[in-house]
């Protein structure tokens, strides 16, 4: 926060005391200006063009260009009669990810305004905030904010006299990581088991209840009002490198000052880690880190000077994911860490496709054996095979399992000696078998 050059956009209403912005303070700080602007004269297509031009990329993990995604929604005569839906993906269950919670708890109106504008752009008449059931504070504040919006005429029929109608509801999840996958989320919203759906058809044409649906991440949607308000060029200028805008970055693990900060896209990793996270905790050294949540590949020391943007992290062999980093230090066992993640992913597999349903528990089992000193040499081969068969997109029905393989595959690359040591010594060299 010392960076004076840095413009706060998403967190401008969020002070160190974390007092949530209510309707009054939100509006006082320029909130709902964009909404008034749109309702008094911008067409859906005008909005779409601004978003496209802004080069905003989805903050949910995959980084898909938001404007392009929206442009697949059939509009006007091309759309058969019926509802269209906008859904905010607030499921945030990716291990090590803690950015959406902050945005919703501290500035619920920013999300809602973004959603109204997004819904207007695709001409959706119904919208849902699909939120983790555990986020009780955020749920309460969003409900309050929604009620205030209905009162103000920002939601409901004929919004601000524009003739545009929109309903918005909060749907609380019953808990399942896979619900974050957008088509699984749609099944959950339909009251079904959250197995992902096959694509095509993409939700943009056949989603919730078979109708055109856009699913966007909380952070993505929080950007919308600002882009509409200040323009695409302004938004592009916020980023340091190729990508536009600011991004919520975070760090957890044994750093001095774990936390979450809004920084320009393209901020170097070292800056985030050293300046904002305060460097490693005393007596600990950096061993590696997952740049964007539990389903991204490890990066190590040599990558510290990379800028945090989609392209750079991608070419280093990982993914920017959610932008919240998990830091592995030299006193923590990498095998144990990967095992922890695999336990999570194996449990969160929806059970639909074979490689994930059976392969992840198998991988977990092998890692358990290795971590607890029962591992054999050939187990390492099994792990390599598993990475190969489960890790490729397309081998499984959805991206959960390939994501689950990312930390493992990179751990095998960077921390091979740790795996070997476990097998050779017949115990975990970090805990001498205490931990597991």
């Amino acid at each position: 926060m010392e960076n004076s050059l840095r413009e706060k956009v998403l967190t401008r209403n969020i002070g160190p005391d974390l007092v949530p912005a209510d309707m009054e303070s939100y509006e006082a700080n320029g909130g709902y200006k964009a909404l008034h602007k749109v309702m008094s004269g911008m067409s859906p297509n005008d909005c779409l063009e601004v978003i496209k031009a802004s080069n905003l990329r989805g903050r949910g993990g995959a980084g898909f260009p938001t404007g392009m995604k929206w442009s697949f929604v059939p509009m006007g005569d091309k759309c058969s009669p019926g509802h269209k839906y906008l859904v905010c993906n607030a499921d945030e269950m990716e291990p090590g990810t803690f950015k959406d919670r902050l945005l919703m708890e501290c500035d619920p109106h920013q999300l809602i305004e973004g959603m109204i504008l997004a819904a207007y752009t695709i001409q959706a008449d119904r919208s849902y905030i699909f939120i983790r059931g555990e986020y009780l504070v955020a749920i309460e504040r969003l409900e309050q904010a929604l009620a205030d919006c209905y009162k103000r005429g920002y939601l409901g029929n004929n919004i601000l006299g524009s003739g545009y109608d929109l309903e918005m509801h909060v749907h609380t999840s019953a808990g399942r990581y896979i619900c974050g996958e957008e088509t699984a989320l749609i099944n959950a919203l339909e009251g079904k088991r959250a197995n992902p759906r096959a694509k095509p058809p993409f939700p943009q044409v056949s989603g919730l209840w078979g109708r055109p649906t856009i699913v966007n991440n909380v952070e993505t949607l929080c950007n919308i009002s600002h882009i509409i308000d200040k323009g695409a060029e302004w938004f592009q200028s916020l980023g340091i490198g190729e990508d536009s805008g600011t991004k919520m970055f975070g760090a957890s693990g044994h750093v001095k000052n774990p936390g979450c900060w809004e920084l320009p896209m393209g901020t170097p990793i070292r800056e985030i880690l050293e300046k904002y996270a305060g460097g490693m905790a005393d007596g600990r050294k950096l061993k590696g880190f997952l740049p964007g949540g539990g389903s991204t590949d490890f990066l190590v020391e040599e990558h510290l000077d990379l800028p945090m943007d989609y392209g750079s992290i991608g070419s280093a062999g990982s993914r920017m994911g959610t932008g919240t980093m998990i830091i592995l230090d030299d006193k923590t066992c990498p095998v144990g860490m990967v095992l922890n993640l695999l336990r999570f992913f194996a449990h969160e597999s929806c059970g639909f496709c074979t490689p994930c349903r059976e392969g992840l528990p198998w991988t977990r089992q092998v890692l358990e054996d290795i971590e607890s000193g029962r591992g054999r040499k050939e187990d390492l081969e099994t792990l390599v095979r598993q990475v190969k068969y489960i890790g490729a997109i397309g081998n499984t029905h959805c991206a959960l399992a390939p994501g689950a393989m990312e930390p493992l595959q990179s751990a095998l690359k960077y921390f091979q000696s740790d795996f070997d040591a476990h097998v050779e010594q017949g115990c975990c060299p970090y805990t001498q078998g205490e931990r597991v």
């Binding site: 078979g210 597999s349 074979t354 198998w362 068969y389 490729a392």
Partner: protein, 934 residues
């Protein structure tokens, strides 16, 4: 036609298919589990992996699922390459993680798709060292065995049960590697199609319980092509026998009729063949009333001498073959032959036969029914009278979804995507019945009406289509308008009706609707159901020339009949007990040919043991008008003989003219075809006995048939001579050629490497298509010039009375049918006869569910248990047709009856199935509930 390249080789393939279908159609072996030709793709098992290359330069490619990838012109693929092969092997290895190594004791062993696929991918060594997950199994009723540990989570069971067959009480429970397929709690599976799980499941999770309890390996079963005797739909089956016992019924694929699926009445009802009450020897009644077994020859000469002594009449049967009926008719003479149906029933089936051959509408096969895009059901409760037809109607309701998919350019095999797109939108299905139907969930609208009102509704729809109006419809007129416009808007409307309500106006109204649609130049289908497996055959044979039942009774009363020969028919199911008693009292001698003991047989002077469908050959004509042949699966034991053989021999003993030329089945059939124009097509139903498959007979036993000598080892270790089949091209042995023959001669399906029923794709011209030799059976009835509709025949509206109720028949898939009730598993499900009453009438009588009520019909009284059902039409009361204790009610159908509370009624135990255990714990998903990670 697109060209695709697989491992460098170019192939022309059909557009609109996926790569898996394309490969299978090319004869290439690509393993799969979750895909099913009738149910499409969902991409869950990931077994059908291939590598797809972007272009010629691309050497790495990426793995795609064959079943989820459409064929595209120029696509470059690899099936055999290491990447795909290794991945497929890894999928099997993953599936084997939790799969028990119990093949030797598994009922699926030897016909297990998982075994086949394991061998096919070449997976051998397991690397997994952890524990296997285990599950608790559920009690699912007397038909299906459940062994969850063997599950590979392909989701086929729930997709069939729920999505395809509309069941709701089987679901995927829990998640990750704890997914469990079962019920909410132990109990009988409620769908009448549950038996298909046995064939749909690629492993041994769902198995045939009666077979498991009396087990034989598939390779030890002797099979023959057969036709189901459960109803008039005419599903093709492949019964399997060992040790003289019918072990099980499997589906025999016929694209036009049953496709891949049977109903449970057909699959499990055939067990009557093994019944304790089978007749094995001829018997003659002694002076003291007892029966004495006699030699077959003696029996024949006794019957012959009876016949020579006086006037003979014969009663045929809608459940006996065309050939047996023909011979009986020929033996006694046209004017002494009665079709064996009651007069009312006979007239109705006759009406159906006439309607189908005069109307311009097509009498559709089930396959054609599935293509209808609007359906009106008038009066026929098909779920209970023609269950497989109801399953076909479910598929036709999905044409709306298919249309939506087409509009979005989704391929028809993208099953999950199409379901998500269409959600609960269906093509219009309208149902008018006397009570709620099990197709209710797909119905656009349904009404319960008295039979005459159903007919009125039909006539009104017909009028509306032609632009006129039937007055006096009251609140139904909006519905009439809706139905008429939906039918008019459809490309291929289908009207379904039938004889089950015993109301000719209902059938006539159905014909009126199709004629009205035809006048609008619609491609219209008319499906009319008839009661039994050969109701149509015997009716075509009779041609309206035979004796009516009442006329026969009359002439008996005049003393004009000395000997009455009854063929496979329990007359007590056809007429009130007193009437039959009188008839039998008025004749001198009763000769009965039948397979199972029944009241008529017990009243006979002389009884001849008939072979069942499983031990004899014959032709049945289905309600569609399709003649189909069945063959003996095994040689009848003891003195049992096919009815046609008894009758043929009797004619020879009697020295009747021409009978010397009727000693063989083919001769009987040919003569029948020559003599009866309506049946002239039957010889084309299947090849004659001279047919040879490349010079060889067609085996009934698979190549792996084993232990033939061991069966009799306690008697002799020498291999017995196999029986010789002189009547058909089939042999009672494993020798011969079982590939490439016409489908009417397919005893079983097996292909190297494909030991399960999935091998059928090796015999089809394309996956889910016709059998290479053509679909079996021949249609005898073709559309006519147009049926005349008497506008005068619109019945009066039904007015409920304050005191009496209109008696209507109510059908039960398990219970209404004569033979399947004799199968123990079906008997367990069928329960007792019931009276189905609306609650207001129950209240008036001051009775409740399970109490007894007296029905007064025509002076006689019947006491039945009450079932309260408010869906039954106002002013009507139903009784469970065909169930013991209801025989004397049949005559009262359509008349007003009065009810009275039965005193001293002993309420029966609640309708729980014997083995249901209400205290059984739920499936072990419970162990996981709310407790992640544990």
């Amino acid at each position: 036609m697109p060209t695709i390249y697989i491992d460098g080789q170019a192939y022309e393939v059909e557009e609109g298919k996926n790569l898996l279908e394309a490969c299978l159609n090319l004869g290439l072996d690509l393993p799969y589990f979750c895909w099913h030709p009738s149910m499409g793709s969902i991409g869950s098992c990931r077994q059908c992996a291939m590598v797809q290359y972007q272009n010629e330069e691309d050497t790495r490619g990426r793995i795609v699922m064959g079943c989820m990838t459409p064929v595209t012109d120029g696509a470059r693929l690899s099936l055999k390459g290491d990447t795909a092969s290794e991945f497929r092997a890894s999928v099997i290895e993953s599936l084997m993680l939790n799969h028990p190594h119990d093949c030797p004791v598994c009922a699926e062993g030897g016909e297990c798709h998982l075994q086949d696929m394991t061998v096919m991918v070449g997976h051998r060594d397991r690397h997994y060292r952890g524990l296997k997950n285990t599950h608790r199994n559920q009690y699912l009723g007397p038909l299906i065995n459940h062994e969850m540990n063997r599950c590979i989570s392909c989701y086929r069971c729930v997709r069939f049960y729920r999505d395809y067959a509309g069941g709701t009480d089987l679901a995927a429970l829990a998640s990750h590697d704890h997914v469990y397929f079962g019920r909410h709690q132990d109990g009988v599976l409620q769908s009448e199609f549950a038996g298909n799980l046995v064939e749909v499941c690629p492993t041994g999770v769902f198995t045939d319980k009666p077979l498991v309890n009396d087990y034989s390996r598939k390779w030890d079963l002797q099979s023959a092509p057969s036709i189901c005797v459960g109803c008039a739909v005419g599903c093709n089956t492949s019964p399997g026998e060992r040790y003289g016992r019918l072990k099980r019924i499997q589906n025999r694929y016929n694209q036009q009729v049953n496709g891949y699926f049977l109903c449970d009445r057909g699959r499990f009802g055939a067990d009557f063949v093994n019944s304790e009450s089978r007749l094995n020897f001829a018997g003659v009644r002694q002076d003291d009333g007892s029966y004495q077994a006699i030699k077959a020859d003696d029996a024949l000469s006794q019957v012959a001498s009876l016949c020579q002594k006086g006037a003979v009449a014969g009663i045929g049967s809608p459940r006996a073959s065309v050939e047996a009926n023909y011979l009986l008719r020929r033996l006694v003479g046209d004017s002494h032959f009665c079709s064996g149906m009651s007069d009312v029933e006979h007239a109705l089936v006759q009406q159906v036969a006439e309607a189908l051959s005069t109307t311009r509408a097509v009498s559709p096969s089930l396959h054609q029914i599935e293509s209808a895009d609007a359906v009106l059901i008038l009066g026929e409760d098909v779920s209970n009278t023609a269950p497989r037809l109801a399953l076909a109607l479910r598929q036709s309701a999905r044409n709306k979804a298919r249309q939506m998919a087409e509009d979005m350019r989704l391929e028809p095999w993208m099953d999950a995507a199409i379901r998500n797109l269409a959600q609960n939108q269906y093509s219009p299905v309208f149902i008018a019945g006397v009570h709620e139907s099990r197709l209710e969930d797909i119905a656009a609208a349904s009404v319960s009406l008295a039979p005459d009102d159903i007919a009125r509704l039909g006539f009104a729809v017909a009028a509306e289509i032609s632009g006129s109006h039937l007055p006096g419809l009251g609140h139904l007129s909006t519905l009439v308008g809706t139905i008429a416009s939906a039918l008019k808007a459809a490309k291929k409307p289908l009207i379904v009706s039938g004889t089950s309500l015993m109301n000719s106006a209902v059938i006539e109204s159905a014909v009126a609707v199709v004629e009205a649609l035809l006048s609008e130049e619609k491609n219209t289908l008319l499906s009319l159901s008839v009661p039994e497996c050969n109701s149509m055959g015997v009716t075509l044979l009779d041609g309206g020339k035979g004796l009516g039942f009442n006329v026969l009774a009359e002439s008996a009363a005049q003393g004009d009949i000395d000997t009455l020969i009854v063929l496979e028919n329990d007359l007590y199911r056809r007429a009130p007990t007193e009437t039959v008693d009188q008839l039998l009292g008025n004749i001198k001698q009763l000769v009965v040919l039948d397979s199972l003991d029944n009241a008529t047989l017990s009243a006979s002077y002389l009884a001849l043991p008939a072979a069942t469908f499983a031990e004899s050959e014959g032709t049945f004509v289905s309600s569609e008008g399709r003649a189909q042949r069945y063959y003996p699966v095994f040689v009848a034991e003891d003195d049992r003989l096919a009815s046609w053989q008894w009758l043929s021999e009797l004619g020879q003993v009697l020295g009747l003219s021409g009978f010397d030329q009727l000693a063989h089945f083919d001769q009987v059939e040919q003569t029948c075809a020559d003599e009866i124009p309506a049946l002239s097509g039957i010889t084309a139903a299947a090849p004659d006995h001279l047919f040879r498959n490349r010079g060889l007979k067609i085996p009934r036993q698979p190549a792996r048939y084993s232990g033939r000598t061991a069966v009799r080892a306690n008697v002799s270790v020498h291999e017995p001579k196999q029986p010789v089949d002189n009547e058909s091209p089939l042999s009672f042995s494993m020798e011969g050629l079982g590939v490439g023959q016409p489908s009417s001669l397919m005893s079983y399906s097996w292909s190297p490497g494909w030991n399960s029923n999935q091998s059928i794709q090796k015999f089809q011209n394309e996956a889910g298509g016709e059998i290479k030799g053509g679909s079996s059976g021949i249609r005898l009835i073709s559309p006519g010039e147009g049926a005349k509709i008497e506008s005068l025949s619109v019945p009066d509206a039904f007015h409920p009375s304050n005191t009496d109720l209109l008696l209507v028949p109510v059908y039960r898939v398990f219970g209404s049918d004569e033979l399947s009730r004799q199968a123990p598993a079906i008997a367990e499900l069928s329960g007792d006869a019931q009276l189905v009453v609306r609650s207001e009438n129950v209240n008036k009588l001051q009775v409740a569910d399970g109490d007894g009520v007296v029905v007064v019909v025509d002076g006689s009284e019947v006491v039945l248990e009450v079932l309260v059902d408010d869906s039954i039409a106002e002013g009507c009361v139903g009784f469970t047709m065909g169930m013991p204790g209801t025989e004397s009610l049949v005559i009262g159908i359509g008349s007003m009856v009065s009810l009275r509370r039965a005193e001293n009624w002993q309420p029966r135990k609640p309708q729980l199935i014997a083995t249901d255990n209400p205290n059984a714990p739920s499936p072990d998903t419970r162990g996981q509930r709310g407790v992640p990670y544990v």
